[in-house]
Amino acid sequence: MEVSIAAAEAVKQCNVDVISAYPITPQTHIVEKLSELVANGELDAEFFCVESEHSALSVCVGAAAAGARAFTCTSSQGLALMSEITYIASGLRLPMLMILANRTLSAPLSIWNDHSDAMMIRDCGWIQFFVENGQEVYDHVFISYRLGEDRSVLFPVIINMDGFILSHVIEPIELIEQEKIDQFLPPYQPLYRLHPDRPITMGAYALPSIFAETKKAQEVALRSSMPKILETWKSFGDMTGRYYSPIETYKAEEADTLLVTMGSFGETASVAVDQMRKEGRSVGLVKIRLWRPFPFEAFKKATLHAKQLVVIDRAVSVGACGPVASEIKAALYGESIRPSIYNFVAGISGRDVAPSDFIKMVDKAEVEIEEGNREGFEIYGVRE
């Protein structure tokens, strides 16, 4: 099953009320499939064909404010146009789901995959997952709605999936029976909603005398959603046997060198780890699944024993380094004994990164760190 089709199937199974999206590669198949499901009566939802992504997310905000379960989907420039509204959805604490089929931001124009779009809205205040394969995409649709709509959470959620690498791949996906989904995901019961019988104001102006209080409330709430995230993953695991965690490790215990990846890199990197382990090298893998709220404790627990981390970013913060690497450096700064960090930016704009590339990156990082370069940064594989 194509991963995009599985994602659409999951959205249908969540019985969403409103779908609003604007076509952009590579998320197109998801919304195309959903429009088909609505048109042929398989899904009883309002499908809004809007004139831009700005409107697409605005419709979702309005729908969620009125108490509907809303879905949208975008990529790259589409997200850029939506970005204004991403901050509004989270500031108003409106649960909804966006699947972001990650694609490079222009310029130069590119339709291929990297994480530059996701990093553009890193601070938008949504719960943000990076998934590794199609099954995770499908599963996280249910997880996201249940989590975001929980009264103790009330945040919109983004599922980041690598464009093309995941969105257009065909892989076996285990679907879940509708009865189980209906049990796992109860109908949405909004805390507040716009209704003429009980007038309220959403999105009012805040003076400097109260704005900081509102931001602190939002920041603490997102940070505090961690236990509920873990609990939701646990319930999902109990139902399906597929247990997820904010940080996933592969042969990482007692490894001297750890590769750190996010998104679909994880599967390829694990092949590289297997090869290096066969050669007797002490290398493991740490995968970040939860990007916001950032799982500081779990990340430290998974990495502090290592001598060095080879952090592979799929985006570059021009003028600084990879955004994942800077996050990790901040996360580990307070530790008196911490691993060296070597940062590669790889696979931007969809360039293939094979297991052999991960091995080359580990080789390079180990040599550089040995020579005293403890904070290296480079864009990998660039022709000189």
């Binding site: 409106l94 007038p199 104001t201 959403m202 109260i210």
Partner: protein, 106 residues
């Protein structure tokens, strides 16, 4: 809402702590904007010379904040709780009955 009847606000916005704010900063009391004193923005306030006033109501019509209301004697008077002191009423008054004076001056 009846003019001049200001609903009891639970408390002014500068007294709220972050823990007390409703989720998403939703305002749960409809119409509480009437409790917002925009009057403290002004430097100039409108003063009506009743001898020149012809009761045309243009000040009432032009006021962008709906701060004007009709008093018992038939004069349109600016409510200084809301009046921001923009001076449009003074500019539009056909008889020059409204003058703008510095707030601290009597």
């Amino acid at each position: 809402m009846e003019r001049g009847v200001v609903k009891e606000m639970t408390k002014p916005e500068y007294e709220w702590t972050w823990k007390e704010l409703p989720v998403g900063n939703v305002i749960l009391e409809p119409g509480n904007a009437s409790q917002y004193r925009t009057g403290d923005w002004k430097t100039l306030k409108p003063i009506l010379n009743k001898e020149l006033c012809v009761h045309c109501g243009l000040c009432y019509i032009y006021c962008p904040d709906m701060a004007y209301h009709l008093d018992e004697e038939g004069f349109f008077i600016a409510d200084l709780f809301y009046c921001k002191g923009c001076g449009i009423c003074s500019k539009e008054c056909p008889t020059g009955a409204i003058s703008m004076v510095l707030e601290e001056e009597k």
